[in-house]
């Protein structure tokens, strides 16, 4: 079974190795052993309740329990911006009108904002290219919502997700060319790396202090405000299916959208249900790996559910075939073992109906 589980200190080697698969471009997950060790340690402290609010954050890994192969990571920051400011542009509207002249114009204004301070953030999602065809991206992304649903009181009222903005075919951001490059005077990747690694003081020194009239920017820059990177479009679709929405906040570097919602409004939080486990052959005769559908797309006729245990430090979640019946979730012995649950233990179940339709294709 492929599960997403809370990270352990012993995962460090595997995580560093995984980070080596990222290649250039992704600056938030680099094979920096020290940084990754700190990240794992921080997640552990958070689980144990020893992390201060400003540093609280969770880190998860995706593992194939059959092979112990670590194939993906994802994270949640509990409350962003409590130590270093969390910067975004708020895209606001200004209307200039004069009755005397019969003029009425509407423009967009980019305001540096800290509006999202104190929000939880889902972040750091990386799935090994080796697994991209396996339909497990949805599991990796949604695992965090299952965790939030299970440990709702560990999180604030609202949640956000920053998505990578649009880049041209030559790999450059039109928005960065039009705005950021003039102010930050370093290249995009350097700025992104510093920012992602908590070295944000240069932002306050260099960023535009006044609002920027978006309508005065070159057209190619205007057009990409709130636009998602081609590669990130499936992630956006998935987050939107979960209930997150673009609310006029964008990234200060590439103008990628920030999606937001109330955690209580997340579909996974609203629709997942806790029920006991029954071990035994599931209603469906599909073997335990059905959820991963290694060859080709999963058959639509096969019902499956997202199932997690209710443990904190040993949190685990994965897709299992079948649906709850009669108030219990039937799991095969292997799946139950992979999720660290036994007969009668509670599990959180999100039935497949919507998990299937919102799978990234």
């Amino acid at each position: 079974m492929i599960v997403v589980r809370a990270v352990k200190t012993t995962d460090l080697d595997a995580v560093v190795a995984l980070a080596q698969e990222t290649g250039p471009g992704l600056t938030t997950f680099k094979p920096d052993r020290e940084a990754l060790a700190a990240r794992i340690e921080r997640s552990k402290r958070t689980m144990e309740g020893h992390a201060a609010p400003h540093e609280a954050g969770y880190f998860f890994v995706m593992e194939d329990t059959a092979t112990n192969d670590v194939a993906g990571v994802c994270g949640i920051e509990t409350q962003v911006g409590l130590e270093q400011p969390f910067y975004n542009y708020r895209v606001s509207t200004v209307v200039h009108a004069s009755q005397e002249l019969g003029v009425w114009t509407k423009m967009s204004l980019l305001n540096i904002s800290h509006d999202l301070t104190g929000y939880a953030e889902v972040c750091s999602l990386f799935l090994s290219p080796r697994y991209r065809a396996h339909g497990v991206g949805g599991l990796l992304s949604r695992s965090r919502f299952m965790f939030m649903a299970q440990f709702r009181d560990r999180f604030p009222e609202r949640l956000c997700a920053e998505l990578r903005g649009h880049f041209d075919a030559d790999g450059t951001s039109p928005f960065w060319r039009a705005v950021g490059s003039h102010f930050y005077q370093i290249d995009f990747n350097a700025a992104d790396y510093l920012s992602a690694h908590g070295r944000k003081s240069f932002l306050a020194e260099l960023m535009p202090r006044y609002p920027v009239y978006a309508d005065l920017l070159p057209e190619d820059a205007q057009k990409v405000i709130g636009l998602t990177h081609r590669d990130t479009a499936p992630a956006r679709k998935m987050l939107e299916a979960e209930g997150l929405r673009y609310q006029c906040h964008v990234d200060i570097f590439d103008a990628g959208p920030v999606l937001e919602c109330h955690i209580n409004d997340l579909r996974t939080v609203r629709e997942s249900v806790v029920m006991p486990v029954a071990i035994g052959p599931a209603g469906s005769s599909d073997p335990s790996r059905a959820g991963t559908a290694s060859a080709g797309a999963p058959r639509d006729s096969t019902p499956r559910s997202l199932v997690s245990n209710t443990l904190l430090a040993d949190f685990r979640v994965g897709f299992a075939p079948g649906e709850p019946e009669g108030g219990v979730m039937r799991l095969s012995a292997d799946d139950a073992a992979a999720l660290l649950v036994g007969e009668g233990d509670p599990v959180r179940v999100l039935v497949s109906s919507h998990t299937k339709q919102s799978q990234p294709s």
Partner: protein, 379 residues
């Protein structure tokens, strides 16, 4: 012979023609005949009024050909720009964006809507009939205003400014307007200029940007014309520089044309002033005398109460030569022998330093100026 005098109501027809001929429109000269008439009346009242500090006054000058009585141009001074309303310009500020950690440092300019020039005296409404040849007349018509300012310091602020036309392409399109104004107004520049009638109207607050505009974020075509004078304004630009105006950190809000400012104390009309006493010379005799004395062209102004006059005349460079003027020039100036007139070299002299002594005395007005004359004579 040409001379500059205050405009009169009887000039209405000629002024109306000039107002309509002027391209782009002159904000100080409305096309509407009644409005124009009111402007001229305001100017007549302003010249007559006892003024202790600048207010609503408006001073309109005309360039007249003495032989034909024809008017060939006009210029004006607004005593307090905007008066009761804000006068808008863009102030071009430099902001430093530096990070010690990243070893970067850059000066970034931003244009902020500013009211800083509100209430300052403004040279405006310059129009010269295109059929008039030669630069000297443009100098006369433009600089006569500063001759008036220099002689009537209380009527004006100690700093004056002038807004020159910005760059437009062959089609009359302003790259700056296209990049900025159009976004806010959604209209053509010419159209808005026609209806706007100046830089003090309420709609500017309603329509123009309330936040600064970062210059590097503007299209390059718009950045290039920032503070650059239109080809048609190059002569005006040079005349202003000669008078002592300097490009400041202000530009026009619509076409980014240069805003030139001058401290009246440091302007040529004050610094290089030589108040001289008129001496009678015969019409022919004058020329011979001039040649012998090494003559040069002067702006000569008579500030007789109620009827300011300014003309060009050849005068000997030597200050103790007084002002030998032929009767034709005396009558232009409405002056007689023994009158003191303000004389300023049309172009800067090589050793301009000596001319500064009068500047301070000038602050006290005409009597002080006379006193300065005597000092000059003694020296």
């Amino acid at each position: 012979m040409l001379f500059v005098r205050p405009g009169r109501l009887s000039d209405l027809d000629a002024l109306e023609q000039m107002a309509r001929a002027a391209r782009p429109v002159l904000h100080s000269l409305p096309h509407d005949r009644h409005a124009l008439e009111a402007r001229i009346a305001l100017s007549e009242d302003s010249f007559r009024a006892e003024v202790d500090f600048p207010g609503e006054e408006f001073y309109l000058f005309v360039l007249e050909d003495a032989s034909s009585g024809k008017l060939l141009g006009t210029s004006s001074i607004v005593a307090a720009a905007g008066y009761a309303e804000p006068f808008y310009v863009f102030r071009n500020d430099a902001l430093i964006h530096a990070s010690r950690e990243l070893h970067v440092n850059r000066k970034i300019h931003a244009l902020t809507m500013s009211h800083e020039l509100t209430g300052k005296s403004r040279l405006a409404g310059f129009y010269l009939d295109p059929s008039v040849p030669g630069d000297a007349r443009a100098h006369l018509l433009s600089r006569a205003r500063m001759m008036y300012v220099a002689a009537n310091r209380r009527r004006f602020t100690s700093e004056v400014f002038s807004l020159l036309l910005g760059v437009t392409d062959e089609a009359g399109t302003s790259p700056f307007w296209e990049a900025v104004g159009r976004k806010f107004f959604a209209r053509d520049f010419a159209e808005v200029e026609k209806i706007s009638g100046g830089r003090s109207r309420t709609f500017i607050a309603e329509v123009m940007p309330s936040y600064p505009l970062y210059v590097p974020l503007l299209p390059e075509a718009a950045q290039r014309v920032l503070g650059e004078p239109n080809g048609k304004s190059l002569l005006a630009y040079d005349i202003h520089l000669e008078e002592g105006f300097e490009p400041d950190r202000f530009v026009d809000i619509f076409d980014a044309g240069p805003v030139l400012t001058a401290q009246v104390d440091r302007s040529a009309c004050v610094r290089s002033n030589e108040t001289r006493v008129i001496r009678e010379v015969a019409e022919g005799a004058s020329e011979a005398e001039m040649e012998a004395a090494g003559a040069t062209t002067y702006l000569v102004a008579n500030n007789r109460a109620g009827e300011f006059r300014c003309a060009l005349a050849e005068l000997p460079v030597a200050r103790d030569a007084q002002a030998p003027l032929a009767s034709s020039v005396r009558s232009l100036l409405g002056a007689v022998a023994g009158d003191a007139v303000r004389c300023v070299p049309l172009h800067r002299q090589p050793d301009d330093e000596t001319a500064t002594t009068d500047a301070r005395a000038d602050l006290d007005g005409e009597t002080a100026a006379l006193r300065a004359t005597h000092t000059g004579v003694r020296r």
